[in-house]
Symmetry: D2
């Protein structure tokens, strides 16, 4: 129990910093010994604020850090697959942020490498599965509270903070379905215990026209048929004014669960000239702050106690497959069968 | 069933108009044949908008209107008692807005006159007892859902629309305890099935100092012990920014009921840059619009079907007694036993 | 203003009784002089409870009632069109419950007859447009509160009270899309100011398998593209355990509105061993009780003041057209373009 | 920043275990090196689950543990004062659970000892000040959002899990005002920036009569006047069926804040045959889980960075003073001026 895992992190952007702060300050079984970033500002942050001694701008060099046991990959989406494979090949456990990749080819390559190192732990960060409210809902479903679930409505809605960064990041992220809905896709598989069969996406750049120029959208909706006959409707938005609003509803034959209400920051209601109101969450990082820590701790526990992480490469591959189908349906304006892909 | 009652109304201010509109346009068993007001504008409204032919500025004359069977007294508080007694003495049924009066002497006089005319219906307008939510709560309590109730928290909170009228009306209304809390007092008696024993009031003119000059307050709170050992805390406010917010909580040994939530106008939530919000009710008239109609219809039914109205002169006298105790406690800054009065 | 309209009603089932009670007891400008039903029990109710003297089992005879000016058609869906046309041909104003019909051919025939009698008022009962919450939302949208609306999510969910009647009524009602979603279809047109272009429906008989035998479903979901580029997802369910739950969300570029929350019966919260809870609405009739009265009064006002009703035959025809597209999409398991029909 | 504080804990009951788990597993700047308990089971827990090597049944011995720098006092209320003073006299920083003591004499003695060791940090665990929602509310008040606050309503309500332990613990805890309302008292002082002037308590053993035998109650309510003219009503209950329900409302001249709503465990709503509901919090430990960790980390930071803790011995003394006044008012059934004490 007194064992501590030596960890390195790659990527120290907004999300990377959040992971790194957990690793440095809140996780008792971890020593954050190495970090890698292409940005000088981020490397400075790693040295000066996180007090990490081994800071790199070359990922390959970081993997050589003596004593390193595990890597957290929190770089941009297009780099996940390669960085995971390299870490595995150096004998390191790997946690990667979602999505695994945006092509089936990349997913398959990662899976093959992972299969060669069955003793190494690999996990992909579908953080919602580690959120108290989602865990509670899943438990209630498993206990039979709502009977047989047959419909999921799930949405990932961000506060409108659209800047040039978010627009140009479309090129790396694979677009709104991969970047936003991959979470809802994973939740739907988990909550309905089935795989996606046919999907029909639509949407547009209703507020920020530049997304359209890049073939992407700021609001999308996808209706889905699953293999076992159940249904889902999955929504993403970049343009909410009230705040981040992740919400999932699961409907069953005996009841339903609504996860994510109220959307408020905390347990305070304000009564003033605007009415009776709650200020809403700023971002998914505020919403899932606890879950990110729980998930990271769980990954470390998987290493220490030799358990298999909950969200595997295979799960992430299934999620990417569905996101590809969503994206193609949107681009071709028609219904897509997942097995067409 | 086809019988219609001929009704007159005295008082056509804001509340009087609301009653008169119900009588004229929404109550099928009523013919509004007469109206009385000291205001020329109000008499003009009666003639032109309500199409009433017999319109008076002299209450005694109105009582002589041929065929008149019942009177609705919606004048200022200081006139209720006399107008009720006069109507009874003319052989007319009487409905009066609350409060009955602000002195025990006036209440007792009305009671004595009413006792001489047992065949005439008298009712006082404790409108909340006719509100769907309060009726539902009372029924749940009677069914035992919350066990033995032992604590009531009740508040009457108005949107801050304080004008000269409201400040000078203090002289006629008897102040905030008679004007606002008489409703909460009646509800507490009804919900706890007991009478007030000892009360301790406090408060101040926290926002509108002129109330203090008149010996009144803009926010008050009174803690109460009831005869059967149960408790109540009763609050009134003239200064809410969000809107009218009547709220009552009843706590029992097996559960509790909260009546008045949410405080929104309707079933719409707004999500915008102010957060997740509901616009709130503007006034008690918006909150109790349906209950005013139900109560008025019920009074007419009591006449047609010879039933006794729910809120009698005796109930109103008990409410006034408690409001006097609240007021004296506030003025003398000490706890008051009701039987001291 | 003192004019009263003489009205007849056809159909005195659950809904018919609700309309008839409003006409008989709550609408001051109406005299309910005639009623028609094929059921002896319903005719007895009309005579004995509603005190109607002219009660028929033959609709043609009712139309001959002397002095009759308007007819309320609240029979089963398959009879609406013929009864509307017959009334018009007798020179009577007609209000009909939704839907107008379940075939375009029937809708078109009614429109042609109505066009021949432009002085007669015709209205179809899309009751939600008369609900305070929906009216408030529409007003806020028109005022620009949420910017440009581009997405509607709307659902009609009934408490599971499925009996043989509801199952066999599928043959007359045209199924769940015509019977339930026609309201959501009308709301979507109204709120997004556009017509349906392409729809994709799915669903099943997840709880009550007998609906499947009749080609219908107990839960359905339809994703929709509108002519102006906006989107909708429309859901219906017959199987909710908590109660009736009509809900509509309108998302715009500057905010969103959620209409129908909370789903509770009233303003009471219960705190007991089941948690913090609200008992929910039993039925759409409890939900829209006020709106049914408002709508009926508005129709009578349209006659008295010579105004055009808000929901015309043309609106109802558009709603039926979309419901036909939904139904075909569901039956053929494919996306349907409305102009294919 | 890499400095770690060596900590001991006394008391390993339900609360003690919660503190100890934070110290052992979640606080990166702490090494939990010692523990003391009179219970063999608790000492075993310390050795086997927390892996603490120095485990004692004698508090004086624990204070001699080499390298010890700070003590967390989480024993029963009657032992707090002595244990705090002993730790200070050994040169150790001390954090103590609330309340400091239940007599002014004990509070004063602790203050005198603390004054002799100004370089040592002392803090008392008014955990709510470290809760995100309370901190947010305080910040909004300080920013002027609600104008001048003049009324606090605050309640501490526990799920009814009354056992022999809770009843007999009354003898050690000082009763419901010291044990429950001391939190509300501290919050009221903090939120209204004033001290208690006069209080009037009432209540009873409405459900569990045995509390009455011990001079205590299961439900109490206290109305309070503060020095600056503002008011408070403070409630405690041991008998809620729905769960733990800590709630505070602050009313000001420009708005109000309600802290603690909704009372649900998490962001999940259940819709089933009981209606629309949220399962509620089981206990204050579930409600304030995060705040306990934040508060403990803050105390350690105060040591490392030489800051003064927020809740001092002086604050705790003021809270005890008010709780004594509440208790005397309840026992003597009369209003009590704090300066009478």
């Amino acid at each position: 129990m007194s064992r501590k895992i030596n960890v390195g992190i790659v990527g120290l952007g907004r999300m990377g910093k959040a992971y790194a702060q957990n690793l440095a300050w809140k996780m008792k079984d971890v020593v954050l010994i190495a970090a890698c970033s292409l940005s000088e500002e981020e490397r400075k942050y790693a040295s000066e604020s996180l007090l990490i001694t081994s800071v790199y701008n070359d990922y390959d060099l970081m993997l050589e850090t003596p004593g390193l046991e595990a890597v957290f990959v929190v770089s941009s989406t297009d780099m996940h697959a390669d960085q995971i494979m390299k870490a595995l090949e150096k004998g390191l456990h790997v946690f990667s942020e979602k999505p695994l990749a945006i092509s089936m080819e990349a997913c398959t390559r990662v899976q093959k490498v992972a299969d060669r190192y069955p003793h190494l732990k690999t996990a992909v960060g579908f953080v919602r599965r580690y959120d108290k409210s989602y865990m509670y809902a899943k438990q209630k479903i498993d206990e039979g509270l709502i009977g047989q679930p047959f419909l999921v409505k799930s949405q990932t809605i961000d506060k409108d903070t659209v800047t040039d960064f978010q627009i140009t990041y479309v090129n790396k992220s694979g677009g709104i379905f991969h970047d936003y809905n991959v979470h809802d896709i994973d939740l739907t598989r988990w909550l309905l215990s089935s795989e996606f069969k046919e999907v029909h996406a639509m949407g547009g750049a209703y507020k920020h026209k530049r997304f359209a120029e890049l073939g992407d959208a700021d609001n999308v909706m996808t209706s889905c048929q699953l293999e076992n006959g159940s249904m889902a409707v999955i929504i993403a938005s970049r343009t909410a004014m009230h705040g981040h609003d992740t919400y999932t509803e699961v409907v069953g034959t005996l009841g339903s669960l609504r996860i994510g209400r109220p959307a408020g920051k905390n347990r305070v209601e304000i009564y003033d000239r605007h009415g009776a109101r709650k200020e809403c969450l700023d971002s998914f990082m505020e919403r899932f702050e606890d879950a990110f820590l729980t998930m990271s701790n769980d990954f470390i526990d998987c290493i220490i106690y030799d358990r298999t992480p909950q969200c595997t490469i295979a799960d992430a591959t299934k999620a990417t497959e569905a996101a590809i189908a969503f994206t193609r349906s949107f681009k071709e304006s028609r219904s897509i069968k997942v097995k067409e892909l």
